[in-house]
C-alpha cells in the first residue's frame, strides 16, 4: 500500500507532472471534471433554498464521495510551471489517515485543543479573529489587543497592515519582509499585554508573498504553537508563494493552516459544484500543502459573500460531508458584508457562524466585516459575538439551526448586494479602554437577546 508522498516527491511532481495551462485548467479541466462528478453521483440541483441548512446526511455523504473522486481526478495545478500535481487513491487514503484528529494550539492556560468534530457535536468549534481587514498603524495594536482581551475568542489572527513607520510596504519587496517581522513580534507582545501570553495565534495575515511568512517560527515571533496561514488560489492551484510558505513552516517545525474557497458561480459552477470542489481542495491540501488543519471554505462570487441561501447551504453540506467522513480539523468562514455597529452584521454572523459550527467544522475565523473592504472597519465586539455564536451553536440540532437561519435571514437578505457598511472602529469601540461605545453595545445587546430568546444557548458555555 502506498503512503502519503513526502515533500521532495510533491516538489518533484509540481515540476514534472502533466502539463496544463492555467487557462485550460480554469475554463476546461475543472468545470468538466466537476460536471462529470455531479452527474456520476446524481448531485445536480440538490440546493434547497427553502431550507438553507441541509438535513439529509446521506446526501452529505454522497457529496463527500464525489469530492474524493474529484480530488483524484484533478489533483492541483502548479501555476508556476503549468504542471499538475496528482495524488492517487492509496496516497490520499494514507494522507487522510495520518492527518491529526486533535491539535494542541498555544500553551499554558490559554491553550486550546482543536478537535475533529461531527455535526451537532457538543465539543465547541473554536473561533479565531479577525480576517485580513486592513488597519492603520495607529489603530492596529489597540484593535489587536482588544480582540485578545475577549475571553471568548480562542485564537488571535488580527488585521492586515500596509505600512511600517509610515513607509508603504510593497509585496515581494524587503518592506514586506520587515513589516511582517515587526507585526509578528508585536503580535506576540500584545497577547502578553492582554494577559493571554499562551493564546494561540495565526500568522502572518499581512504576508502577501512568502517573504512576509519567513517570520513564522523565528525567535520572538509567531510561535510554532501558532498556525502558519497558507492560502492557495481557487480552484485547487498552488504556486511558488504558497510552496515557499509550506517549506518554511515545515522547516520551522510549525503547523500549516491551509485553505482556499470553492467559488460558487466561479469555475466549479453552481453551489453543488462548489461544494465538491471545496471538499476536493480540502482533502488534497493535506497531501500537497502538508496541512495540519483547515479546508472547507466557500464563497459566492455573485454576492461577494456566503451568507446568502446558496452560500449557507453549501457551507452546511461541505462541513457535514467532511466531518462525517474524515477526522480532519476543518475550517469555515462566514463572509459577512455589513459593517461595524450595524445589526445586519450581527445577524449575518449569527446565521453564518451557527451553520458552520453545527455542521461540524473544527474552527472558524472572522468576521469579514464590511466585506473586508475598508480600512479600520473591524470592532473587537463583533469578534466576541462571532466566538459566542460559534461556541453556543456547536451542539445545536441541524433542524434547529435551519429554523434559526429562516428566522434571521430576512434581517439582512435583501441587502447583501447593497450592504450597510457601518462605521470605522473609532466610532463603535473605545480603543484605549477596550470597550464598546454605548450605541454599538445597545445594538449588540438587542441582537443577542433576540438570539437567546430564539433558543441559542448563549449562557450555557
Amino acid at each position: 500500500m502506498k503512503q502519503k508522498p513526502d515533500l521532495i516527491e510533491i516538489l518533484r511532481r509540481s515540476r514534472e507532472g502533466e502539463y496544463c495551462s492555467a487557462h485550460e485548467w480554469d475554463v476546461k479541466r475543472v468545470p468538466k471534471a466537476v460536471k462529470k462528478m455531479l452527474k456520476k453521483y446524481d448531485l445536480q440541483n440538490k440546493l434547497d433554498k427553502e431550507n438553507p441548512v441541509n438535513m439529509d446526511m446521506e446526501l452529505a455523504d454522497k457529496f463527500y464521495q464525489a469530492g474524493f473522486d474529484l480530488a483524484l481526478e484533478l489533483g492541483m495545478l502548479n501555476e508556476a510551471r503549468d504542471r499538475i500535481v496528482k495524488i492517487d487513491e492509496e496516497e490520499l487514503i494514507s494522507t487522510l489517515h495520518l492527518a491529526p484528529a486533535e491539535v494542541e494550539l498555544g500553551f499554558g492556560h490559554d491553550k486550546r485543543i482543536m478537535k475533529s468534530r461531527t455535526p451537532s457535536d457538543p465539543y465547541p468549534m473554536l473561533f479565531g479573529s479577525s480576517l485580513g481587514i486592513t488597519m492603520s498603524e495607529e489603530a492596529w495594536p489597540y484593535i489587536t489587543e482588544g480582540i485578545a482581551r475577549q475571553p471568548q475568542v480562542d485564537i488571535l489572527e488580527s488585521g492586515s497592515l500596509c505600512s511600517i513607520n509610515g513607509l508603504e510596504a510593497l509585496p515581494n519587496d524587503p518592506s514586506e519582509t520587515l513589516l511582517c517581522y515587526e507585526q509578528g513580534r508585536k503580535h506576540v507582545a500584545l497577547r502578553r499585554q492582554a494577559g493571554r501570553e499562551g493564546m494561540p495565534g495565526i500568522g502572518n495575515i499581512s504576508a502577501v508573498t512568502e517573504f512576509g511568512q519567513f517570520c513564522y517560527g523565528t525567535r520572538g515571533n509567531f510561535y510554532t504553537t501558532d498556525l502558519s496561514l497558507i492560502l492557495y488560489p481557487s480552484e485547487m492551484k498552488i504556486n511558488n508563494q504558497t510552496m515557499h510558505k509550506v517549506v518554511h513552516t515545515l522547516a520551522m517545525g510549525g503547523m500549516v493552516f491551509a485553505g482556499s474557497p470553492g467559488m460558487i458561480g466561479g469555475m466549479p459552477g453552481p453551489p453543488e459544484g462548489a461544494v465538491i470542489s471545496s471538499i476536493a481542495a480540502a482533502l488534497l491540501q493535506y497531501a500537497i500543502l502538508f496541512s495540519t488543519v483547515g479546508g472547507g471554505e466557500l464563497y459566492d462570487i455573485r454576492y461577494l459573500s456566503n451568507v446568502n441561501r446558496e452560500g449557507l447551504w453549501a457551507l452546511s453540506v461541505t462541513h457535514q460531508a467532511l466531518s462525517r467522513n474524515t477526522h480532519l480539523c476543518t475550517h469555515g468562514i462566514a463572509n459577512q458584508v455589513s459593517g461595524p455597529g450595524t445589526k445586519e452584521l450581527l445577524y449575518e454572523t449569527l446565521v453564518g457562524v451557527s451553520v458552520i459550527a453545527a455542521s461540524g467544522a473544527s474552527f472558524s475565523t472572522g468576521p469579514r466585516s464590511a466585506g473586508g473592504k475598508f480600512n479600520d472597519y473591524l470592532s473587537p465586539l463583533d469578534c466576541r459575538w462571532c466566538a459566542e455564536v460559534a461556541h453556543a451553536a456547536s451542539g445545536m440540532d441541524l433542524k434547529d439551526v435551519n429554523a434559526l437561519v429562516k428566522e434571521f435571514l430576512p434581517e439582512f437578505e435583501d441587502n447583501i448586494k447593497t450592504p450597510n457598511i457601518g462605521k470605522p472602529v473609532q466610532e463603535v469601540w473605545d480603543l484605549k479602554n477596550f470597550k464598546p461605545l454605548p450605541e454599538a453595545e445597545a445594538v449588540y445587546n438587542e441582537v443577542r437577546s433576540r438570539a437567546k430568546a430564539f433558543g441559542l444557548p448563549l449562557d450555557a458555555i
Partner: protein, 231 residues
Amino acid sequence: MSDLINKLYEAVIEGEEDDALEIAKASIEAGLEPLKVIRGGIQAAMDLMGDQFENGEAFLPELMLAGDAATLAMEVLLAKIKEDGGEGADSGTVVIGVMAGDHHDIGKNLVRAILSANGFKVIDLGIDVGVRDFIETAKRENAKIIACSTLITTSLPYQKELIETLDAMKIREKYQVILGGGPVTPQWTNMIKADGYSNTASECVELCKQLVSRDLEGGAADPIIIGALNA
C-alpha cells in the same frame, strides 16, 4: 434572422471558438452585413450569458469561453468592416492584469470575460504582473486601455508606479489607465491621475466605452468614475 446569425449565436453561447470563427467567416462570404452579424450573433448571445450569470444559470467558465469565442468571431467581422471603409465598431484592445504580488484573479477574470463579450480585444497577462510587463504588452499590442486589478492594498502603489513610469517614458497620453478591485477608490484613482474606475465588471464595459469615445489623451482629463461604494 439569418441562419448563420443564429448559428453564431449558438456557437458563442456554447463557447465553441472554432465554430464561431468559421461561422463568422461564412457570414462574410454569404455577404451578410458584419454589424448585423455582431449585433444578432455576438452581442445578443453575450447579453443572454450576462443575464444567465446574474441568475445563477451560467457561471464564470461559460462566460469566459463565450467571451473567447466572441473575440475570435469579432476579429474577422471587424476586419471586414474596416476593409469596407467603415468604422465605429472597433472597441479597441485592452491589456488586463493583476498587480505584482497579488494572486486574486476571480474579479479580473470576470472583467476580462465581460469586456471581450462586448467587443474589446482583451490581452490577459494573468496574476502577479509587473509594471514593465503591462507597458511592454500595451506597446506591442497597440492597446488603448491598460486595466489594472488588485485586491491587496499593498499592491496599490504598483498602480501609481505604472502611471509614473508611463509619464517618465513620455507615453502616458497613449493609454487610458483604468483601475478596479477591492481597495481601489475614486479618491485613489484621482490621486494617481488614472483615467477611470468602476466598481463592477459590468460597469467596466460602460467605462471603457466612454473612455474610447471621449477620444482624449491618457491623463488629459479627470477620470471617469462609475458605481463607487463609499466608506
